[in-house]
């Protein structure tokens, strides 16, 4: 009798396994249909093979910044995968071997341990975590693990009621795993996440390279960005679906911190709502259980796959609040590309409606009509250098270094930094020239504001100019200029070696070509990493090396280096100027104040003007070039 019972029990686990597998397959097929509503993108089956490496190296690199959750996840997910594999063999293939049962027992124990710590953290969850369905997860996972644990116990305790209980628990857990994925429950992150690693829109990220350049639009093919969810590439949609609502992006987002109506996590979730509904179901964000867009109520946003996203699903102000600082991308464990999504949607608004708010339309008009952001005379860009005796580059007269000043050249404050830089370049006896009236804006601001047409026009004109000149390297003090020229112009045929001034100066100092004294500066100093230098170009060391070389000690702020906090100046955000509770530069200066810094070293004209715009008592703001120039050996007359 006992024996028979036991066998019957095994059979029911097997049945459950196959039932769940079927449900999973159907659910998965449904999910893939949703992703396939997106636009075509390069697809290689072979990429599936890359998943393990990308999971264990690239993804884990991000997750391990928070060791607690990294370990918990390893235990839970590792345990679960092992358990599932063993169950598939032992019960799926009807082996019913006792030895495998032992293995299942240990795997589920590990999983249960992981789940326990998840549960523990959930009791005191940080605000960035979503609740709702995600709060259910520890319980359903625990049910799954406990159910299997009982089943795999070696002693035949399978009396009727316990057996029933075990089966019920297992049923609940399997429902989360199998049905949940197809129905868009939290566990879909496992499948979507792994597939996203394989078919990520920025494959370069996995070869150890930075991949930060925006992808060009084929304007001539009528590509005007994203209006409805189905305008995204299918692998972008897949990426959104991978989001685990961990809120790390939210915690890093400067616009969210400033109370502007942007929360990158909510943005991704809204897009998930959009991608998973067909035309008929006007599903809303009512079940979203995380922080809202600051100041915007949750519950009345709805959308579907072929319906315009703005304004019903996502308010336009949300998009225009973003500084494109990439802090969210840097933090996202699922390697989701928020900035690409935001710019894609901005592109549509700008190119088809011209509806960028605030001063953005005026700026775009200036760029079209004068090739400068501020509507200035291009001939006036290098007025600050008239008395410095600097060469202006001429066709047919080659130079080593072409100095591109960027828009900061029209700003009286930043001209001081530029003058300091010229002084340093002269002290190092470099053969360099400025660009003079030939320089047009790189179009960086236009591009971030979604005006791809103006960007491409400027890019093509600039490339034509550069190609008519002879130089070895381009040096600029503006990381935004650097990013455009170095990372984004290649797509239009402009390949140049572009250096940030700090990189060049660090090179000169280490080779001894630039000799500096120790600085007389005694104030407590910190360094603010520009997003477009750090996260966009990976340069965090040269500025620090330089400051150390003149004997300055750097007191790091809480967020620095690749995880630095934005000054609020990027992405055209100061132009669209979406109101919040406070201003981003105020928050950044507060970071500096909280470590009692009296001096903030910067390396970007935007950062300079944003941080200097903070009113009230605040640390002084000086460009690294200015600090270095004041440490120049006064006795050595620069060669003329």
């Amino acid at each position: 009798m006992q024996m028979l019972n036991y066998t019957g029990f095994n059979y029911s686990v097997t049945a459950l396994f196959w039932l769940a597998s079927a449900a999973l397959t159907i659910g998965l097929w449904r999910r893939t249909q949703l992703w396939r509503a997106g636009q075509p993108a390069a697809f290689l089956w072979l990429n599936l093979l890359a998943i393990p490496k990308r999971y264990f190296v690239d993804l884990h690199h991000v997750v391990s910044r928070e060791p607690y959750i990294a370990r918990t996840h390893v235990a839970t997910a590792g345990g679960a995968v092992a358990t599932l594999a063993l169950v598939a063999v032992n019960y799926g293939l009807m082996m019913y071997s006792a030895a495998l049962n032992w293995a299942i027992l240990s795997a589920t124990t590990i999983m249960l341990g992981g789940v326990f710590f998840i549960w523990l953290r959930r009791r005191n969850a940080p605000a960035r975590l979503s609740r709702g369905a995600w709060s259910r997860l520890p319980y359903t996972l625990a049910a799954f693990a406990i159910g299997l644990l009982i089943i795999s116990l070696p002693v035949p305790i399978i009396s009727g009621s316990v057996a029933l209980l075990a089966l019920l628990l297992l049923l609940a857990g399997s429902a989360e795993l199998a049905l949940g994925i197809g129905l868009g429950g939290p566990m879909k992150h496992a499948i979507a996440g792994l597939l996203h690693l394989a078919f990520h829109p920025r494959q370069e990220r996995f070869s150890g390279k930075l991949s930060t350049a925006l992808k060009p639009l084929m304007l001539e093919n009528g590509q005007y960005g994203v209006s409805k969810p189905s305008d995204f590439k299918w692998n972008q949609l897949l990426g959104f679906d991978a989001c685990v609502q961990c809120g790390k992006c939210e915690a890093a987002c400067p616009a969210f911190a400033a109370g502007q109506p942007l929360n990158p996590k909510k943005l991704i979730q809204d897009l998930v709502i959009g991608l998973s509904n067909d035309e008929k179901s006007g599903a809303t964000d009512a079940s979203f259980a995380g922080s809202p867009y600051p100041g915007v109520a949750v519950g009345d946003h709805s959308g579907s796959i072929h319906a315009p996203i703005i304004p019903l699903l996502i308010p336009a102000e949300t998009l225009w609040s973003c500084t494109t600082c990439r802090a969210c991308v840097q933090e996202c464990p699922m390697l989701i590309e928020h900035v690409d999504a935001i710019v894609d949607m901005r592109r549509n608004l700008t190119l088809t409606q011209g509806s960028a708010p605030g001063k953005a339309p005026q700026t775009l008009e200036n760029l079209r009509e004068t090739s400068t952001v501020g509507g200035y005379d291009r001939n006036a860009r290098y007025h600050w250098a008239v008395d410095l005796d600097v060469k202006t580059i001429q066709k047919n007269s080659p130079v080593d270094i072409l100095l591109v000043a960027g828009e900061g050249a029209f700003d009286m404050r930043y001209q001081r930094s530029l003058r300091a830089l010229v002084k340093l370049l002269k002290a190092a006896n470099l053969d360099f020239a400025i660009m003079g009236a030939l320089e047009r804006d790189t179009g960086d601001t236009a591009r971030r504001l979604g005006d791809e047409a103006t960007f491409q026009m400027l890019a093509k004109q600039n490339i034509e100019t550069f190609n008519s000149l002879t130089f070895k390297r381009i040096v600029t003090a503006d990381p935004h200029v650097m990013h455009s020229l170095k990372n984004e112009y290649p797509a239009f045929g402009g390949h140049y070696q572009v250096l940030h001034h700090t990189t060049l100066l660090a090179e000169l100092v280490s080779s001894g070509q630039l000799k500096l004294e120790k600085s007389t500066e005694t104030r407590k100093l910190t360094y603010h990493d520009p997003c477009y230098l750090g996260r966009y170009n990976g340069e965090t060391e040269a500025p620090r090396t330089l400051l150390k070389s003149i004997g300055l000690q750097i007191n790091e702020m809480e967020r620095s280096g690749l995880r630095g906090r934005c000054c609020g100046g990027g992405g055209g955000a100061p132009l669209t100027d979406i109101p919040g509770k406070q201003r981003i530069p105020d928050i950044r200066i507060q970071d500096a104040r909280s470590i009692d810094a009296e001096l903030v070293a910067v390396a970007c004209p935007q950062c300079t003007s944003m941080l200097e715009g903070v009113v009230g008592k605040r640390p002084d703001v000086l460009d690294i070039a200015e600090l270095l120039a004041s440490a120049l050996d006064q006795n050595v007359e620069p060669a003329r």
């Binding site: 304007l219 009528g222 005007y224 700008t350 190119l351 088809t352 409606q353 011209g354 509806s355 339309p361 775009l364 008009e365 079209r368 009509e369 004068t370 090739s371 509507g375 200035y376 005379d377 291009r378 009286m412 404050r413 005006d451 791809e452 047409a453 103006t454 200097e612 715009g613 009113v615």
Partner: protein, 272 residues
């Protein structure tokens, strides 16, 4: 009051700093008002057949290849009818010939290029015997006629009713939001008007024979130099504080003059 045919006249502008060809902003405002008015009228009677619909015709007299025209497309013109003329031609006769059957002609106040006299709407109205309202900020169609809100100096406004057909000259400060969209520029169309059977006459008072000279230096307002840092200026702009200076009420006119003289000397604005 029924209005069937609206025309907006647009000219080729020129950026004052870069000299780049661009739309003339004031003309764009006129066109924007025309677009909004057309849309509004057609929205009231949505079932009118296509022949009964009110239409806006955007017109330019000049070079059809001028790069400035594409700005008007981007700003919302679906089509621009161009009467191809060279700079020496008198545009009034050509325009009048094309616009006889129009109910309402909208123009800007002044071009940014060429003779820049601001007289085109007046000459046109005279030629066509249309009424003319200048300095218009808003235009509204009412049963009595066209209601135009006029700009007057010092923030004053005046509302007038004008009978059609009319020329309405839009003021540069008209509250119109211009939206420049690249996609519209691509789909928009520039056509040389086919029905033109009119030989343009040469302008007697040919602008090209004029002598040009650069503007004279403008008088400079005497102002004490501020020696404050950028940060201090920012502070005084954001925090309300005493901006300095003194109010002199006591004393006779000579004494008061002395105070001013002293101030000017102190700040080296005069040297005697």
């Amino acid at each position: 009051m029924i209005i069937k045919k609206i025309a907006a006249l647009v000219s080729a502008g020129r950026h004052p700093v870069s000299g780049e060809a661009r739309h003339c902003r004031n003309d764009s405002l006129a066109m924007g008002i025309g677009l909004a008015l057309t849309k509004k009228i057609n929205a009231i009677s949505p079932n009118a057949g296509s022949t009964n619909k009110t239409s806006l015709r955007v017109m330019h007299a000049g070079n059809p290849d001028n790069a400035a025209l594409k700005d008007y497309l981007a700003l919302g013109a679906k089509n621009i009818d161009v009467i191809a003329l060279t700079a020496e031609c008198n545009i009034i006769d050509s325009l009048a010939n094309e616009l006889t059957n129009t109910d309402l002609i909208l123009t800007g106040s002044r071009a940014e290029n060429g003779q820049d006299s601001g007289l085109v709407p007046y000459l046109l109205a005279e030629k066509l015997s249309f009424s003319l309202v200048a300095n218009a900020l808003e235009v509204e169609l009412t049963p009595e006629g066209l209601e135009v809100l006029q700009f007057l100096p010092k923030g004053k406004r005046r509302s007038v009713i004008v009978q059609l057909p009319a020329v309405v000259v839009i003021h540069p400060l008209a509250p119109v939001e211009l939206r420049h969209a690249y996609a519209q520029q691509v789909t928009g169309n520039i056509s040389q008007h086919p029905s033109l059977r009119f030989t343009p006459v040469m302008d007697q008072d040919n602008g090209l024979q004029w002598q040009k000279q650069s503007i004279l230096r403008k008088p400079i307002k005497l102002k004490a130099r501020e020696n404050k840092s950028g940060h201090a200026r920012m502070l005084s702009a954001t925090v309300s504080e005493n901006k300095g200076g003194a109010v002199v009420i006591d004393g006779n006119s000579v004494e008061k003059a002395q105070v001013i003289l002293r101030y000017l000397r102190e700040h080296r604005l005069i040297n005697f």
